[in-house]
């Protein structure tokens, strides 16, 4: 059933992850998945706001793989929360004024362009009240609290100075290898 279970996840940055997922909004379930009203823009984007963004030199696997503002974007296979891409951050940076939680949950997502499976670290951005935009819930491989490493019901901002959750990033931290 679960793709992820067949993979050995090579976590490149062990310190940054605890191998678990978080997802407040499981309960909102059926009514709340996706990013329906935001058009897909599967092209690389220029930086805005006067700051050089990581996206400026994105490889084709990112730039041609869909829209980071869409819940369908490949990195978000295990995300559950508000997308930082819509909150003043990007898919891999936190919005101004927040802090990135060092304790995260991870997922293994298949990149549709190069066909590889990557380990994604879903570091939450914490310290400002909910962003409230681009709620995205994708629960594949999710487990209840007893599998903390795979559970997205927990508020993982518990690892930050502030327990107040703002939005979630999706950061490539390594390649996953099939067993």
């Amino acid at each position: 059933m679960s793709l992820f279970d067949k993979l050995f996840e090579k976590t490149a940055r062990g310190a940054a992850q605890k191998g678990s997922r978080r997802g407040f909004i499981r309960g909102l379930g059926a009514a709340l998945v996706g990013a329906g009203s935001i058009p897909l823009l599967p092209v690389a984007r220029a930086a805005d706001g006067g700051q050089k963004l990581p996206q400026d030199n994105r490889l084709p696997q990112d730039s041609e793989a869909g829209d980071p503002a869409s819940c369908d974007y490949w990195r978000y296979c295990a995300v559950d929360g508000f997308l930082c891409e819509c909150c003043g951050g990007t898919y891999n940076t936190c919005p101004p004024g927040t802090e990135m939680s060092p304790i995260t949950w991870i997922g293994t997502c298949r990149n549709p362009v190069d066909g590889r499976n990557y380990v994604i670290s879903y570091n939450d951005c914490c310290g400002t009240t909910q962003c409230g935009s681009c709620l995205c819930q994708r629960d594949e491989g999710d487990r209840p609290l007893y599998r903390a490493d795979k559970s997205n019901d927990v508020n993982w901002c518990l690892g930050a100075n502030s327990s107040v959750y703002h939005c979630s990033t999706a950061i490539v931290v390594g390649l996953a290898f099939e067993q």
């Binding site: 059933m1 679960s2 279970d5 605890k18 678990s20 997802g23 407040f24 909004i25 499981r26 309960g27 909102l28 379930g29 059926a30 009514a31 998945v33 304790i103 310290g127 400002t128 009240t129 909910q130 409230g132 819930q137 994708r138 629960d139 594949e140 491989g141 999710d142 487990r143 209840p144 609290l145 007893y146 599998r147 903390a148 490493d149 019901d153 927990v154 508020n155 518990l158 100075n161 502030s162 327990s163 107040v164 959750y165």
Partner: protein, 407 residues
């Protein structure tokens, strides 16, 4: 449509701009009429008392429920709302409201006239030191009798769970789950109103009351851990119960219905797991199938957040959906299954009027279902025939994720 939006989300009492103007005119007209019919012969209204605060009855009616409003869109605004789900008049449904900050956890006592909210605060909203506080409320006055501050701010902050807190059978001890992510639970002596022990439960979470004075937790290896307490609420022993499911391949929901001391844990794919919590230490009893081979073909499965509850006659009610897949376990369902767990038999399948995310059941001999629907309102349903009695909206609800019986 556009102009309906704010009306919808801002409460029952909204009318639109145009209506305001119309009603002003109507009122003016009405005023003229009324003037003609006034009765100055009546004695004037007396001066009324100021400062009066209402209280609730010691025994709440069977149709009153505690709604855990998690306030997912601003975790500062969480509430517990006492709601009479059978009240027809919208204005009379809300009975009382208590604050519940930062995904606070809730538990209602049955014998004590109390309920408990385990919550967290930063000193200044999102910033400043965090304090974890257990607030013990008087359930009739909704006043806080006592606040107990955790030594370490480690209490579980997660989506609402029925067993993030548990009560001992005699209700002397309250068990409160911690997760930092190291798992433990605190034991609160409710007579003395103090924490008497904090007990580590490595790899095992939540607090299912067991026997007279034991606590069972569910473990990452698919087994259980029972902590036996002494008469003062301190740890006396811990017992590990060997794995009865595979947390990777055959996961179960952490949300059992506990009926007469037996815990029934549904599996993602539709198997039921019976655990005996009547003795000092939990015992695995058996696994049985909820789903027919026919249903399995179209992947019928349990699903939802607070996906099940029980009535006082011992029946279990569970939300289910067709075409289940990896991920759908959290998404709710279109049907409710009524299950006679003692006879391992599903009695009925009820089609919900809409989508269901969480379910609760009222007390008494004629139980009613309280279903958090896809609009995040509450559908009140008669399980005898599946009929929708009423939909309750506009009680200050944003994300009413779990509903509890009130006593």
């Amino acid at each position: 449509m556009k102009s309906l939006r704010s009306a919808l989300r801002l409460g029952a009492c909204s009318v639109l701009a145009s209506s305001v103007l119309l009603s002003s005119l109507a009122l003016a007209a009405a005023k003229q009429e009324q003037k003609a019919a006034t009765r100055p012969d009546l004695p004037p209204l007396p001066i009324e008392e100021t400062g009066a605060i209402r209280s609730l009855p010691k025994n709440m009616p069977e149709s009153w429920m505690y709604v855990d409003e998690a306030a997912f869109f601003s975790m500062f605004g969480g509430k517990v709302i006492v709601l009479d789900v059978m009240e027809e008049r919208p204005a009379k449904r809300i009975k009382a409201i208590a604050d519940k900050n930062l995904l606070g956890n809730f538990k209602a006592a049955q014998k004590r006239d109390e309920f408990y909210i385990m919550e967290s605060f930063h000193a200044r909203g999102s910033r400043g030191p965090r304090e974890d506080v257990l607030a013990i409320y008087d359930k009739t006055t909704f006043k806080i009798l006592k606040e107990i501050v955790w030594k370490d701010a480690t209490r579980l902050t997660a989506l609402p769970e029925r067993y993030s807190m548990g009560l001992s059978k005699d209700e002397r001890f309250l068990y409160v789950a911690n997760f930092s992510p190291a798992a433990s639970f605190s034991v609160v002596d409710l007579d003395k109103r103090e924490v008497v022990d904090v007990i580590g439960t490595p790899g095992c979470v939540l607090t299912y009351p067991t026997g007279e004075r034991s606590v069972t937790s569910l473990c990452s290896n698919g087994g259980l851990l029972t902590t036996v307490l002494d008469k003062n609420g301190k740890k006396s022993a811990q017992h590990r119960i060997k794995p009865f499911f595979d947390t990777d391949k055959t996961p179960i929901f952490e949300r059992p219905a506990i009926i007469d001391g037996m815990a029934y844990f549904p599996g993602f794919a539709g198997k039921m797991h019976t655990i005996d919590l009547r003795g000092d230490v939990a015992k695995f009893v058996e696994t049985w199938d909820l789903i027919t081979p026919e249903e399995r073909k179209t992947n019928w499965r349990p699903g939802g957040l607070g996906l099940n509850d029980k009535d006082e006659q011992g029946l279990m009610y569970m939300i289910a959906h067709e075409n289940g897949a990896d991920g759908t376990q959290t998404h709710g369902g279109s049907h409710v299954w009524v299950i006679d767990v003692k006879n391992k038999k599903r009695l009925r399948k009820l089609a919900l009027p809409g989508w269901g995310i969480s379910i609760a059941v009222t007390r008494g001999k004629e139980p009613k279902l309280v279903v958090t629907n896809g609009d995040l309102n509450l559908d009140i349903i008669d399980p005898k025939d599946g009929k929708l009695i009423q939909t309750i909206s506009d009680f200050g609800n944003v994300t009413p994720l779990l509903v509890h019986k009130a006593y």
